[in-house]
Symmetry: C2
Subunit: 410 residues, 2 copies
């Protein structure tokens, strides 16, 4: 238990001021990674970190840390935060809620005159969204050793701008090495980006882990004949086969008793003309489950469907798994800490698993980790209409405060 | 009957020389409308027309005419020809066969010392393909009053170049008004662009008319949520509905006893990202039949399918018919003339209907018309691998010669 508490008014004022940066007419924000708007958001964050008396460090990846020392200078730190880059025309909550909650938690300790045993570090990771520079979670990925620094610097946006050059341009290529501090554990508050909490009328999700997923590139190649004189039974239509596989994804995900989700998200057609039979289609598949065996089974079955669609339509085909991430259970003790914090905060909560990836996934590789989800209204995310009730945002920060307090004293 | 005959060697030499212009490595040609290569092809054609003693006229649309006077200067002319613009990286036969056959026919009359009663006119129409400037068949369309001249001049390619400006740039904006001469009839030799003749082992198709068709633009609009945390039963996936409609097109075209063909040719997906549920898809539908009622029925049924797919998936939808052309039977007497010419030439032929549009469709609106098809190997067209056996090209020209001779004497 702790006497510290979130200052709701200050939190709200900061949230609103922060989201003026890159604000869009439709109520969202446009602050993609390393854009001018992202720089302005970073500048304001660093100013607030300094105002709160934190020792600010910016590492080679532009990850921004703010440190508050504890009673024991030798102790491993409790790290918590999220990210402030956005989707193109994204929402006001994704990432921002986690970083500003973290700032509120250290200020709440200050207000209550509480010194923790362990040092506290708050963080804003670079390039979580992955919309301008792929892959996503690049800042936490380098920090945790998943990616090399040079690999990250060489990522290019669609105009050919390098991540490293853009980082330097906005003045956030720091001197500090991008490598793990001595950490005790990691927490992250984030909006759920799905509908479960709102549907169940709960205000907090205690996140037990993250879905595994497989990403595939698939291509069908047929013949681009004229749509008029080519009889139906002589066609080699790459798009009809793509439609077959898309319907098969829906069938596979309807298999009884699994949590599998599947998506055909990106589709490109050649020559893409109204009167020409599609010669080539390239498309993507995304399968996710908390059970790795379920993803394996989906992959096996969809490959059969691809082969069968190609055979029936008389096509060549290629498929390649381009990314595979196993399901990732978080640390039992951190999960229990968050659950107890939710109990102590007196809120209605449930334990759940995240379908989306977060910086916490990478942190979980190097230190005990868990997450706190706040409900997303209608499950909407990555869009300007993304919304979370303000009282739920505050509740998430209160739970974070209690979880941090607990772990910072052990 | 006539003593005139095609000079196979001269025809072949011209065909090969002509197709050196814009030749591609893969054996095709790249001479899109009003390109530099199209200009060089036009220049060579005009030179050959003049060498053959034809009176050359270039009209305001860049249509190129070559006239050989007949015994009766007051008589209406027999017009025949095709086009010399190509698809981007298209084939060597589409259009070229018709124009060079026409030139061979007048030279064959010269060689045999034959003077016809009626004047003969041969023609190369501008912008038949419609790949650089839409719509297709623009030159014959203005000539027959389907389009206004100013409308045609204002067509722009994807770089914003106006048709009228490009026509002037290559020096083919002629002085002659683009309006019908006094015509007796029109013939056109063309490659079939479908597989029927080759499959039936025939060398000539007597074309009785052209399929009608409907073109539609369809759009589905759903919600672009994250592919991970969004359960399958809460999705509003615009691409899944597109797959449903695509499968429905296949089902509708399988209806017993109709000649209906249907194609989803162009598909664009937003935001088109591997991990985002497709929010919006815009796609096209192309339905064709020689029976207008069959096209009507297909339209009605596909609209039901679109509505049902949108309802089940929870989407908004739009559909719009952007072009409708009725089936177009050619002139009975011209059809019989071509059939008799095929008999006289001693070749194996059949009567058939064209699934594709041609300049002949527009000419048919103002003068009795028919066409002569040469077999397309594997039915392939609009691609570099387009191929017609040379003996079949020659046979097509022999049939044209006899048809022209017959009509030029009546």
């Amino acid at each position: 238990m702790t006497d510290a508490t979130i200052d709701e008014r200050r939190f709200r004022d900061r949230f609103d001021e922060f989201n003026e940066i890159g604000a869009t007419d439709a109520g969202g924000v446009n602050r993609p990674s390393l854009s001018d708007e992202n720089k302005r958001a970073r500048d304001l964050l660093v100013e607030w970190f300094r105002d709160a008396g934190l020792e600010v460090r910016i590492d080679e990846m532009g990850n921004i840390f703010g440190r508050r020392e504890g009673r024991d200078p030798e102790a491993d730190a409790v790290l918590f935060g999220s990210h402030v880059d956005s989707q193109y025309n994204g929402g006001r909550y994704d990432g921002v809620v986690g970083v500003l909650s973290a700032l509120e938690v250290v200020e709440a300790f200050d207000d209550a005159g509480i010194e923790t045993d362990r040092p506290l570090e708050i963080v804003a990771w670079s390039n979580e969204e992955g919309v301008r520079f792929q892959p996503d979670m690049l800042g936490s990925g380098v920090y945790t050793g998943v990616f090399d620094l040079e690999y990250a610097y060489d990522r290019e946006d669609k105009d050919g701008n390098r991540f490293g050059d853009e980082l330097e341009r906005i003045g956030y290529k720091g001197e500090e090495p991008c490598e793990p501090d001595d950490l005790h554990c990691y927490f992250e508050v984030h909006v759920e980006q799905g509908p479960f909490l709102e549907r169940a009328d709960l205000s907090v999700g205690v996140v037990e882990g993250v879905f595994g997923f497989s990403w595939m590139n698939v291509a069908f190649e047929g013949q681009a004949n004229h749509a008029g004189p080519t009889p139906m039974n002589m066609r080699h239509d790459a798009f009809v086969a793509t439609a077959d596989v898309t319907k098969a994804v829906r069938e596979i995900t309807a298999t009884e008793g699994t949590d599998l989700v599947g998506t055909v998200g990106s589709v490109d057609v050649w020559p893409n003309a109204i009167n020409v039979i599609p010669e080539r289609v390239e498309f993507t598949l995304d399968f996710r489950s908390y059970d790795n065996a379920v993803v394996d089974a989906a992959l096996e079955r969809i490959q059969d469907e691809i082969e069968w669609a190609a055979e029936r339509e008389g096509l060549e085909y290629e498929f390649e798994e381009i990314m595979r991430v196993d399901a990732d259970p978080f640390d039992d003790e951190c999960i229990e800490t968050v659950a107890q914090a939710a109990e102590d905060a007196g809120c209605e909560y449930t334990r759940l698993v995240s379908g989306a990836g977060h910086d916490a996934n990478y942190l979980n590789k190097i230190t005990p980790t868990s997450m706190i989800f706040a409900p997303s209204v209608d499950g909407i995310s990555h869009r300007e209409s993304e919304y979370t009730e303000w009282e739920d945002v505050v509740t998430g920060a209160e739970v974070l405060l209690r979880a941090v307090n607990e772990q910072a004293s052990t």
